[in-house]
């Protein structure tokens, strides 16, 4: 299995800070999520980190066994 990690308000939307998902293309994974959550995760202000590394370009991700993919909404500020 792979893991999705949701930070900030995305955790509220997802109903939890993490979710175990099957390996495979991210598109497939997102398609299986509630639409409201999938839309929020794809917001252009949400950064994505794969195994702790920020991705410059979120397209074409294929999750492998043990991967951790984190969704990082804008930070809260001052």
């Amino acid at each position: 299995m792979a893991r999705l990690v949701f930070l900030g308000r995305l955790a509220d939307l997802a109903g939890g800070a993490e979710r175990a998902v099957a390996p495979g293309p991210l598109e497939t994974t997102l398609a299986a999520l509630p639409v409201e959550l999938a839309v929020a995760l794809l917001d252009e202000r949400v950064r994505i980190a794969l195994n702790g590394e920020l991705l410059a370009e979120p397209g074409g991700i294929v999750l492998a066994e043990g991967d951790e993919l984190a969704f990082l909404p804008p930070v809260s500020g001052g």
């Binding site: 990690v5 930070l7 900030g8 308000r9 955790a11 509220d12 980190a49 195994n51 702790g52 920020l54 951790e68 984190a70 990082l72 909404p73 804008p74 930070v75 809260s76 500020g77 001052g78």
Partner: protein
């Protein structure tokens, strides 16, 4: 040059870190320290009962370390201490402490100013406030962008 960056999960007393930090830098000209505390008053005037900070382990601490190194190099510091609370905090508790030791005061003061602007606006923390029994996420502010723009 020494850099000490920590995420703290429990309440802390800044003086217990700042004293030893200052002692560790003989020959310094000055130490500037900023300590931020959780305010009991929300931006809309309501009462904040608690504040919860979440972070993302693989990014938050490395990001703070990179910021500390940037500040130390940019301002030619002798040492930089950077502490940030995570977890659940209550009004009056210290949430952040940045202390810079330098040969001259301007470097120490500017380094703290720089580090605070970036810690507040550009670090991987998410905050929510408990007001009237309900949690509310804190959004980015316009002011944050202005704060960061000062250093470009």
């Amino acid at each position: 040059m020494t850099i000490d960056v920590r995420l703290l999960t429990e309440p802390f007393i800044p003086g217990t870190f700042i004293g030893p930090f200052t002692q560790a830098h003989p020959g310094l000209g000055g130490v500037c320290t900023f300590v931020g505390e959780v305010r009991g008053q929300a931006k809309d005037g309501g009462r904040v009962e608690a504040l919860e900070l979440s972070h993302y382990e693989p990014l938050t601490l490395p990001g703070m370390r990179a910021l500390a190194e940037t500040a130390a190099l940019r301002f030619g510091l002798m040492g930089l201490l950077m502490l940030h609370r995570v977890g659940k905090l209550y009004p009056g508790e210290p949430i952040v402490c940045v202390s810079a030791a330098a040969e001259h005061r301007r470097a120490a003061i500017d380094a703290v100013d720089f580090a605070m602007d970036h810690l507040k606006s550009d670090s991987w923390f998410w905050k929510r406030e408990l007001r009237d029994g309900a949690w509310h996420w804190i959004e980015p502010r316009e002011q944050d962008h202005a704060d960061l723009a000062r250093w470009r």
